[in-house]
C-alpha cells in the first residue's frame, strides 16, 4: 500500500514541477502557505511567490491584476476564506470577464478537523459552481491533484480547485489521464453506481470492495470536474446500474455534487438516489476519525446507502 498523502501537497508538488518550465506561473497566498501547501513553491521560487498577508479579498484582486498583465497566478487560502470572503471578488474581478486566475481552496470538508467548524469548508463547491465561467475541480488523491496543476495551466480562464488536508491512499497514478469535464470510472459494476469526489472516492472504492463481499457489484465513478459536470457520462454510468446511485461528497448536501448529479438524472425514469454528504450542519473540532463517524462520512454509510437504493 502506498503512503497516504494529501491533495494539498500533491497539487503544489505538481505546480512546482510545472513552474520550472513555465516562468509565468506565480503563487499568491494570504499568510497560510504552510497550511495550503504553497510554501514549497515559495522555497523554490521566492521571486514568483507573493504573500499578500491575511487579506483574502486582496488575494483575489491582486491575482486578477497579475493575470491582467499576462501572468498566471495560482492564489490560495483555506477554502472557507478564499471561496467565502473572496466570493464577490472572484465573481466580479475574475469570472465576469473570464480572467485567467486559478484559485486553490484547501482544508475542504470536515477533515480540516481540529480547527473546528469555522475553518471547515462545506459550501465552497456550491458557491464556486454557482458562478458562470467558473470551472470547479476536485481531485481524489495526491497524484490526481499533482496532474491537475498541468491541466489548470493549459486551460485559459478562471478555475477553482478544492484540496484537502487529510492524507488519503492513492487510487490513481500519474499515468492516468484526466480529461476536463469527464467522469472517471475506477471500478466496474452493474448493481449500483457510486459517484464520488475528493477524498470520498477512496471511501467509495473501499465500500465497493465491502459490497463485493456481500455479492453486490458496484461501479465507482470519480468526479474530478465538478463543473462542467459530465452529464452524458453520469447518465450512462447510472443507467447501466439499473438507475441505482449513491453520491458521495465531503460537503454540505446542498449545491454541490449531489444536487448536480440529481439535476442530471431528474428527467430519467426509475432512478433510485441516495447521498452521503454533510446533512446541513456545521462541522466542529474533533479527531478526524471521530468527526467522519459523527457526520456519516464513512465506508459503512456508503454501503448502507447502497443497500437502501438496491432494496428500494
Amino acid at each position: 500500500m502506498a503512503d497516504k498523502k494529501a491533495t494539498r501537497h500533491g497539487f503544489y508538488d505538481g505546480l512546482v514541477n510545472l513552474a520550472r518550465k513555465h516562468h509565468d506561473i506565480y503563487a499568491v497566498d494570504a499568510d497560510l502557505g504552510s497550511a495550503t501547501g504553497s510554501s514549497i513553491f515559495q522555497k523554490e521560487f521566492p521571486d514568483r511567490y507573493i504573500d499578500v498577508g491575511i487579506a483574502e479579498q486582496n488575494l483575489v484582486g491582486i491575482s486578477a491584476g497579475l493575470a491582467r498583465v499576462g501572468l498566471v497566478p495560482f492564489c490560495s487560502s483555506m477554502a472557507v476564506f478564499v471561496a467565502g470572503r473572496g466570493f464577490e471578488i472572484i465573481r466580479n474581478a475574475v469570472a465576469y470577464s473570464r480572467i485567467n486566475v486559478k484559485i486553490v481552496g484547501s482544508h475542504t470538508g470536515i477533515t480540516a478537523a481540529g480547527d473546528g467548524g469555522s475553518h471547515q469548508a462545506i459550501a465552497d463547491m456550491a458557491a464556486m459552481r454557482a458562478i458562470p465561467n467558473m470551472v470547479v475541480l476536485s481531485p481524489c488523491d495526491y497524484f490526481q491533484a499533482a496532474k491537475m496543476a498541468e491541466l489548470m495551466y493549459a486551460h485559459q480562464g478562471p478555475m477553482y480547485i478544492r484540496t484537502s488536508r487529510e492524507p488519503v491512499e492513492a487510487v490513481t497514478s500519474l499515468d492516468d489521464e484526466i480529461v476536463l469535464g469527464k467522469a472517471q470510472q475506477l471500478c466496474d459494476g452493474k448493481d449500483v453506481c457510486i459517484i464520488a469526489t475528493g477524498m470520498m472516492t477512496v471511501l467509495a472504492i473501499e465500500a465497493a470492495k465491502a459490497l463485493h463481499e456481500e455479492g453486490i457489484e458496484a461501479k465507482v465513478v470519480n468526479i474530478h470536474t465538478i463543473k462542467p459536470l459530465d452529464a452524458i457520462g453520469i447518465k450512462e454510468a447510472v443507467l447501466s446500474c439499473k438507475g441505482r446511485v449513491v453520491v458521495c461528497e465531503e460537503a454540505n448536501m446542498f449545491g454541490g455534487l449531489s444536487e448536480g448529479v440529481a439535476s442530471i438524472l431528474v428527467e430519467e425514469d426509475g432512478i433510485r438516489f441516495a447521498w452521503v454528504a454533510i446533512e446541513d450542519r456545521f462541522g466542529q473540532s474533533g479527531a478526524t476519525s471521530v468527526l467522519l463517524g459523527a457526520y456519516g462520512i464513512t465506508k459503512e454509510n456508503i454501503v448502507r446507502k447502497a443497500w437502501s437504493v438496491i432494496q428500494r
Binding site: R48, V52, G61, A64, G65, L66, V69, I89, Y96
Partner: protein, 272 residues
C-alpha cells in the same frame, strides 16, 4: 492653442459626449463622470503612454475603480477610436460594449472590469505588481471615488501597494465629498484623508482636480519605491452650474430647459 487650452476644450467636449450618451440611454451617472472629466482628459490626452494602442503590452494602464463614472471613459474610447463610433448610442443597451459598468471582455480599451466598488484599486495594485515582475516601465493609474474608500478592500490594497514599493502605481481619489446617500463626512467620515494615505505609506499630493495644468504635472511625479496618491478636490457635476455639488445629480437625468442649459454652459449645442 496651447496645451492647457486644448485639454480644457477636450474635457468639455468629453462632458458633452457623455451627456449625449446618458440622455440617449435615459440613465447613467453624470455627476461622477463630470467630476473626473479633467483628470481623465489629462491622463488620456497628455500623461499616459498609449501610443501602441489598447492591446500593446507595454502601454500604461487605466483603472476606473469608480466604475459608475464609465460614460466619460466611453467618451474617451470613442474619441480615441478604440471602439467603433456607432457604439455611441448604445450605452446600457442589450448587447452593447458600453455596459452599465465597464466590462473588459466586451469593450476594447477597458483595462479592468469594475463596478463593484473597491475592486479596481486591488486589481490595479496587482497590475502594477505584475508589470514590475515583468520588468516593464508601464505605469498604472487608478481613479477611485472618495465614497468608495468605505470599502475595506481598498485599505488592504493600499497596505500591499506600499509593502511592495509600487512606485509605478498612482491612485487618484476623486474627492468630491459626495456619495449616493449624501456628504461623505456625514455618512462615513474619511477625516484627514491625506494623513490616512500617508500613514499607509503613500506619497500624497493634494490638488484642484479641475486645474488641468496641475493635474498633469502632479500625475507625472514619481516617488522612488513609494506608491503615489493624488487627492483631487473636485466638484461633482463640474461644468454645469445647476448640477455642481448637488447629490441629486449622482444619477439624475436633465430634462427640457436643463438639457439646453447644460450644453450651453459646456460651450456647445445640443446634439440630440
Amino acid at each position: 492653442m496651447n496645451t492647457i487650452d486644448r485639454l480644457k476644450k477636450k474635457a468639455d467636449q468629453l462632458r458633452m459626449d457623455t451627456l449625449d450618451m446618458i440622455l440617449e440611454a435615459g440613465s447613467g451617472h453624470i455627476g461622477g463622470s463630470f467630476s473626473i472629466a479633467d483628470i481623465i482628459t489629462s491622463l488620456y490626452y497628455d500623461v499616459m503612454d498609449i501610443t501602441g494602442g489598447p492591446h500593446d503590452e507595454d502601454r500604461d494602464r487605466f483603472v476606473l475603480s469608480k466604475g459608475h463614472a464609465n460614460p466619460i471613459l466611453y467618451a474617451v474610447l470613442l474619441d480615441k477610436g478604440f471602439v467603433p463610433k456607432d457604439a455611441k448610442g448604445t450605452l446600457r443597451q442589450f448587447g452593447s460594449p458600453f455596459q452599465g459598468h465597464p466590462d473588459s471582455s466586451v469593450c476594447p480599451g477597458i483595462d479592468c472590469t469594475t463596478g463593484s466598488l473597491g475592486q479596481g484599486i486591488s486589481v490595479g495594485t496587482g497590475m502594477a505588481l505584475g508589470l514590475k515582475k515583468l520588468g516593464k516601465d508601464s505605469r498604472v493609474f487608478v481613479v477611485a471615488g472618495d465614497g468608495e474608500l468605505n470599502e475595506g478592500l481598498c485599505w488592504e490594497a493600499f497596505m500591499a501597494a506600499s509593502n511592495f514599493q509600487l512606485d509605478n502605481l498612482t491612485i487618484i481619489i476623486d474627492r468630491n465629498m459626495l456619495q449616493l446617500g449624501g456628504h461623505t463626512e456625514d455618512l462615513m467620515k474619511l477625516g484627514d484623508l491625506k494623513a490616512k494615505m500617508e500613514s499607509f505609506g503613500f506619497a500624497v499630493d493634494e490638488i484642484d482636480g479641475h486645474d488641468i495644468g496641475s493635474i498633469g504635472s502632479t500625475l507625472r511625479k514619481k516617488y522612488p519605491d513609494t506608491p503615489h496618491c493624488i487627492i483631487a478636490k473636485t466638484i461633482k457635476g463640474k461644468g454645469v452650474s445647476y448640477m455642481e455639488n448637488n447629490p441629486s445629480w449622482h444619477g439624475g437625468i436633465p430634462k427640457g430647459e436643463e438639457v439646453a442649459q447644460a450644453y450651453k454652459e459646456l460651450g456647445g449645442t445640443c446634439h440630440g
